[in-house]
């Protein structure tokens, strides 16, 4: 695990849906370091999540929608 600091390891395990200390996670980290196919596999999972985040950036709350909400609640700002 010499190439990975704790943050990277944590992120990796997180993408696998496991805790950092989980035996399967430790084993996978070792595989990833030694196996290009696994590295590719993990990279594509990360890319998938990043693509979804990039294409679905938060939109501003329209003023009209907010005004309607406050009106419904009978709140005048």
């Amino acid at each position: 695990m010499k190439k990975h600091n704790k943050k990277v390891l944590h992120e990796l395990c997180n993408y696998l849906g496991q805790d950092l200390n989980h035996p399967m996670c430790k084993e996978l980290i070792q595989h990833v370091e030694e196996c290009p196919e696994w590295k590719f596999y993990i990279d594509t999972i990360k890319m998938t999540v990043n693509i979804f985040r990039e294409t679905h950036q938060p939109q501003p709350l329209p003023d009209k929608v907010k005004k309607n909400l406050l009106k419904t609640l009978n709140i005048t700002k």
Binding site: G17, I51, T55, L70
Partner: protein
């Protein structure tokens, strides 16, 4: 977000302070609207979820006991409203069993070469539509985890608290959702490559 400030606003809102409640709307309204958008993919539906959520919170805030934090409580209410609306309208294409069979069997997975694709060029409306459709194909239990954890960027713990499931279940569902979406994307990438080369 300053939790002391939120706690103070909640305490004041519980006493009927409208200005404090309005500030809570200012703080969280946009996030709830976007949560609705991500689950329901429709601006009118997202506006409805915002209305329903804050109306319910306005009516129930007096009974909010603070056992969970306000943010988690608010998100739980919003998520429930959004999922209820989804259930009324949605036809699930894949069942949970399909997902388990597909993704608990590594042999069924294929690794596609798409890391070097010009992703920036692909980020157009057609691609986005395809991504939306891919998320819509996820069974609700996987879709909700993916949206809360990966798109709303909540922690595994928060996601579990909002959905009322264990952290282990969050992880299992998240893994399946990610694998499904990754595979769907990979197929899209393959088709994109074929088109580019013809």
């Amino acid at each position: 977000m300053n939790t002391d400030r939120v706690d103070l606003l909640v305490a004041r809102a519980k006493e009927g302070d409208q200005a404090a409640f309005t500030e809570l709307v200012d703080l969280y309204g946009e996030r709830i609207y976007n949560l609705g958008l991500r689950i329901l993919k429709n601006q009118d539906d997202a506006a409805d979820i915002l209305q329903e959520t804050f109306t319910a919170v306005y009516e129930k805030i007096g009974s909010f006991d603070g056992r969970s934090n306000f943010f988690t409580w608010l998100y739980r209410i919003a998520t429930n409203f959004a999922l209820m609306k989804l259930r009324k309208e949605k036809k699930t294409i894949y069942t949970d069993q399909d997902m388990e069979q597909q993704f608990d069997n590594p042999d069924s997975m294929q690794i596609h070469e798409w890391r070097d694709l010009p992703l920036q060029d692909m980020l157009n409306n057609e691609f986005r539509k395809h991504l939306d459709e891919a998320v819509e194909k996820l069974p609700e239990i996987y879709r909700s985890v993916f949206i809360l954890r990966d798109m709303e960027n909540l922690s595994i713990r928060e996601t579990g608290q909002i959905l009322g499931i264990t952290e282990s279940n969050v992880k299992i569902r998240l893994k399946r959702a990610r694998l499904y979406l990754r595979e769907d994307l990979a197929q899209y990438m393959d088709e994109y490559i074929k088109k580019e080369h013809t």
